[in-house]
């Protein structure tokens, strides 16, 4: 644990430096959109990382419900907390991209943005639920059940948004493989790896802090 965190942080810094260099200097400019397309290298990895956070949080929630291990509850909470941060950044970068390429800050026709709005609302309520119930097994159970509902809501909402959509969104990943050149795809992979490492680092830091907080509180209770 003592070695893992600095190593993770170092890997994250290195990968992020590489990602920025690749995204701005190595990847060829988009013929249609030019410079503004480069936000893609951050927007999409942010979105995918956010899904990974929610998925990880739900997995830990399931683990909690099976084994009643209090650590899994804390891990699930931290993963969802990180997921909301990445989700908010996805909304922000998506909004900026929409402004530049379509001239509007918000477009209801863009599935990903609308889905993230729904998820953002859903997972913000997760914190309301968690902070309005007293700590203990009841709260852990409810949080876990809610986290599991969230991960099922993702595909259902996505389907719903697809059904209600109005105009065309650039589809980058198709069944035939990514619609990008090799250099673009490589840059994308580096950015995704950087983003996932960032998640892992932030997750480890927050978890360490929360665990320290818990043990400190236990010590205080023992002393008083």
């Amino acid at each position: 644990m003592h070695l893992k965190l600095p190593a993770l942080a170092a890997a994250c810094t290195g990968l992020f430096g590489l990602a920025v260099v690749f995204a701005f200097f190595y990847a060829p400019a988009d013929a249609d959109q030019g410079l503004s397309q480069r936000i893609f290298y951050f927007h999409v990895p942010l979105a995918l990382t956010s899904y990974a956070c929610f998925g990880w949080g739900a997995w830990k929630a399931l683990k909690y419900l099976r084994g009643r291990d209090e650590r899994a509850d804390l891990e699930s909470y931290v993963a969802i907390h990180q997921g909301v941060i990445f989700g908010a950044l996805t909304l922000l970068t998506g909004s900026i991209w929409a402004r530049i390429s379509w001239g509007v800050w918000w477009s209801w026709g863009e599935d990903e943005l609308v889905l993230f709005l729904v998820l953002f609302l859903f997972y913000c309520a997760y914190f309301m639920l968690r902070f309005s119930v007293d700590p203990g097994p009841a709260r852990a159970n409810m949080s876990a059940v809610y986290a599991l509902f969230g991960v099922v809501l993702i595909p259902v909402s996505f389907l719903a948004i697809r059904l209600s959509k109005q105009f065309i969104h650039p589809v980058v990943f198709k069944l035939q493989g990514p619609q990008m050149t090799g250099a673009q795809f490589f840059t994308f992979c580096v950015c995704l790896a950087a983003m996932l490492t960032l998640f892992a680092t932030m997750y480890a830091i927050e978890l360490a802090g929360k665990r320290l907080d818990c043990s400190l509180r236990e010590l205080k209770e023992l002393l008083s």
Binding site: L121, A125, N141, A160
Partner: protein, 205 residues
């Protein structure tokens, strides 16, 4: 006692309670009519059917929310949760009984609301009625589970809309668009999930 008779007894208890106290259903009825009246004035003259139908869904979701907020209040105020959990029934039977009672209230409110909507606006078609019936199932199953979560919190009445409305977005999409298959899918997935999850929500309260 079989599972079915447990569920029937629990649902009967809630319906009997409502029949005697008359707390939830009259307020739901008044609310839905008042909401439709507000919507009539909110819409400009000559609005299309589609816009009016969208507002019907908003009215129904908020009316359901009113019923769901009240669903577990009696249990909480009289500390009946402990007694319910101690009874030798499957915990999911508690959820199913409550969901059936809430569904009964919601359907009763809609029996008044839908003709009122048809009168105030442009009439109804069979597809909308079918969609409302399917949506009711989804609303009541998920809403009952989230209602049980919300009463455990400090800000009960405030918490349930926050938890429930994001879940209701797909229902509104399916309902307004008239995608019946989508509503069936939603109901099946989330009814199963709620049925399995309810035990965890109440067992430690």
């Amino acid at each position: 006692m079989t599972y079915a008779s447990d569920v029937a007894a629990l649902a009967r208890k809630d319906l009997l309670l409502e029949l005697r106290a008359k707390e939830t259903l009259p307020s739901m009825l008044l609310f839905v009519i008042a909401a439709l009246t507000i919507f009539h004035f909110a819409l400009p003259n000559g609005t299309s059917d589609v816009a009016a139908r969208g507002l019907l869904w908003a009215a129904l979701i908020f009316t359901a929310l009113l019923g769901l907020t009240r669903a577990f209040v009696a249990e909480r105020e009289q500390s009946m949760f402990d007694a319910l959990i101690l009874t030798p029934v499957d915990r999911s039977a508690i959820w199913l009984g409550k969901a059936i009672a809430v569904l009964a209230f919601l359907v009763a409110a809609e029996i008044v609301a839908l003709p009122a909507f048809a009168m105030f606006f442009h009439g109804l078609n069979g597809r909308t009625v079918a969609a409302v019936a399917l949506a009711d199932l989804g609303i009541c199953t998920v809403g009952t589970l989230f209602g049980a979560m919300a009463v455990a919190g400090r800000a009960r009445e405030l918490l349930l809309p926050l938890l429930f409305l994001p879940m209701a977005i797909p229902i509104v999409v399916g309902g307004v668009g008239g995608y019946l298959w989508f509503l069936v899918l939603y109901d099946a997935i989330f009814a199963l999930l709620s049925w399995a999850a309810f035990e965890y929500v109440v067992s430690e309260v």
